[in-house]
């Protein structure tokens, strides 16, 4: 657990980067600091490993004041991932990852073995171990950066806009991998970004900062979207927050409707309307409409009309359910179970009704 108590950072020129910050970061969770540039989010992160010294106040890690430890020892116990990775250009990928274990005095063989394990964990091919950072793509370098931060298995990771310099597709990939890794590792992660979508996607909790180093709101992402504390947070959270907020509501309680299906190769029933075509395992392939077709037509691939998005009944959100309904050519969203087999259908109306039911009672709020 990391605690900020009355933390202020005043730079020599008098500017206040962080103003009297009180915040507790939950152990084993991802906390995201987000805000416009100049809001003190990065300064706050860098004070944790003393890359920037605190002017007033204290930061404690599991109750220990960070100022009590030697700075270099403190840093070796905290993983650090930065923008553009900040890899050592003169060291191979393997030796980059082995940096902190070697600083901690591990043998070279053990450190390299650990580094090789981590390459696998972050999804880097083993043949890259002998290459140099300059020979890797931006996304690959960022994976190396994450592996390097994890090498000595620190309980805490500081991630300073780690994915902001890679293209959107790679970024989304890296975000998903981070969530997958975190599900296994359960690190206490402090993640800084200026991208509210990234904050909402990754954070168990999100701290929104405003210019001048003031904390505007500290909440779970769903609440941040549903209940911005003030106009600043509302403006920062941005457009479509109502729709994006659906991403935090489970689809499990949605009533599922019947869905006419036909297996590929079988004949189309007479007088059918929209029918979902499935394969032998009842996984959806596409739609077919009965009008203008002879009954008894054997359904083939060439007849298929592409379907919309799918959503998983148990793990899906109202957002994915609504999107499934809106993107389906028949207006019926296709719900699938954990194996990808058709479980039923949902219409946009059903989602909106469920949303109405879930709306908190204004008297109770």
């Amino acid at each position: 657990m990391i605690e900020f108590r009355g933390v202020t950072k005043r730079f020599p020129d008098g500017t206040i980067a962080v103003d009297n910050l009180d915040l507790t970061l939950d152990a084993g969770k991802i906390t995201v600091f987000v805000g416009p540039s100049g809001c003190g989010k990065t300064t706050s992160l860098r004070m944790v490993n003393r890359m920037i010294e605190i002017t007033e106040g204290t930061i404690t890690i599991d109750g220990h004041d960070i100022m009590a430890a030697d700075a270099a020892d403190l840093r070796r116990g905290i993983g650090y991932v930065i923008q553009q990775a900040g890899l050592f250009p003169h060291r191979t990928i393997l030796d980059n990852i082995a940096t902190v274990p070697l600083l901690l005095g591990w043998s070279k063989a053990k450190a390299r073995q650990r580094a090789a394990e981590l390459m696998e964990v972050v999804g880097l091919a083993p043949e890259m171990s002998r290459r140099y950072p300059g020979q890797l793509s931006g996304g690959q370098q960022q994976r190396v950066g994450v592996a390097r931060a994890l090498a000595a298995d620190p309980p805490i990771l500081l991630m300073d806009e780690p994915f902001s310099a890679v293209d959107p597709v790679v970024r989304e990939n890296l975000q998903d991998e981070l969530l997958r890794l975190q599900a296994d590792l359960g690190k206490t992660i402090l993640f800084v970004t200026h991208d509210i979508d990234e904050a909402v996607k990754l954070g168990d909790k999100v701290a929104v900062f405003r210019t001048g180093g003031l904390l505007a709101q500290y909440d779970e992402p769903g609440r941040l979207l549903a209940r911005p504390a003030d106009d600043f947070v509302d403006g920062f959270v941005g457009r479509d927050r109502g729709y994006r907020g659906l991403g935090f509501l489970s689809s499990a309680a949605l009533p599922l409707g019947e869905l006419p299906t036909v297996t590929l190769g079988d004949s189309l029933p007479d007088g059918a309307g929209w029918v979902l075509v499935v394969d032998g395992a009842r996984q959806p392939l596409g739609w077919i409409h009965g009008s203008g077709r002879d009954g008894g037509l054997a359904v083939e691939h060439e007849h298929l009309i592409p379907g919309g998005s799918l959503y998983e009944v148990e793990s899906g959100s109202l957002r994915s359910a609504l999107d499934a309904a809106l993107s389906s050519p028949s207006g019926q969203g296709v719900a699938v179970d954990g194996n990808g087999s058709v479980a039923g259908s949902v219409r946009a109306d059903d989602v909106l009704r469920a949303l109405e039911d879930a709306r908190p009672d204004p008297a109770a709020a």
């Binding site: 490993n49 890359m51 270099a72 020892d73 403190l74 840093r75 070796r76 650090y80 930065i82 923008q83 553009q84 900040g86 890899l87 050592f88 250009p89 003169h90 060291r91 940096t99 902190v100 600083l103 091919a125 043949e127 890259m128 290459r131 140099y132 950072p133 300059g134 020979q135 890797l136 793509s137 931006g138 996304g139 690959q140 390097r148 790679v170 990939n173």
Partner: protein, 218 residues
């Protein structure tokens, strides 16, 4: 050619002497310049001071330095140490600036990353900053080495000039062959040493070579 063939042993001895007088100061100069350049790079004032002093030293004419040094060092005027010290001074004067520039050109993001990983300053300098400064430092050493090889010849005026002795001797005794052979050998030595330094620089910087293996997709 007859003069050359008749004096091979002398030419060989002078070549070796020349090489020692030229390269010992370069080695000493590199060893001295690294900490000085590091210090110069720490503060703005240190940088201005060091670089100005180095620039001033380089403007002292070499012949004057050979004459001034004996009383300063307490050596005889014909002591080879004078040549070594004088050329070391020139090497340092050339290299301090290069080292300071090379270190300041190491990307701040890499230095900060090293600090954040838990490097303490001295180890960070040796393990991260210095290796990354190598390409620029080697470029500076090449200039210093070639300049040192050429300056050694001036030492022949006080009797320790290596191949430079072939200039003075050839001039006094009117043997053009000896002068030409001396010039050619100095040129060849400069080229060989320069080539060797390029090779050493490549060996020390395997990471900066162009990619030879095909990139794989992310």
């Amino acid at each position: 050619m007859t003069w050359v063939l008749g004096n091979l042993e002398l030419i060989w001895d002078l070549t070796l002497e020349h090489l020692v007088f030229a390269l010992v100061p370069v080695v000493l100069g590199v060893v001295l310049s690294l900490p000085l350049g590091w210090l110069a790079n720490r503060t703005g004032i240190g940088r201005t001071f060091t670089i100005n002093v180095a620039g001033l030293l380089y403007t002292v004419p070499s012949l004057a330095l050979f004459v001034i040094l004996p009383p300063l060092l307490g050596t005889q005027i014909l002591d080879p140490i004078n040549v070594i010290v004088a050329l070391t001074v020139y090497t340092v004067a050339l290299l301090v600036r290069t080292v300071a520039d090379a270190l300041s050109a190491v990307p701040a993001v890499v230095v900060n990353a090293a600090t954040a990983m838990g490097y303490r300053p001295v180890r960070r300098f040796l393990a991260v900053e210095l290796p990354l400064a190598v390409p620029v430092v080697v470029a500076g050493i090449r200039v210093a080495a070639v300049s040192s090889i050429s300056l050694v010849t001036v030492g022949s005026v006080i009797g320790f000039g290596g191949l430079g002795k072939m200039f003075t001797d050839g001039f006094q005794r009117s043997i053009p062959q000896e002068i030409i052979a001396g010039i050619v050998l100095v040129l060849v030595m400069a080229l060989v040493v320069d080539g060797a330094l390029v090779g050493i620089g490549r060996l020390l910087t395997p990471w900066s070579r162009p990619v030879s293996t095909a990139r794989s997709a992310a």
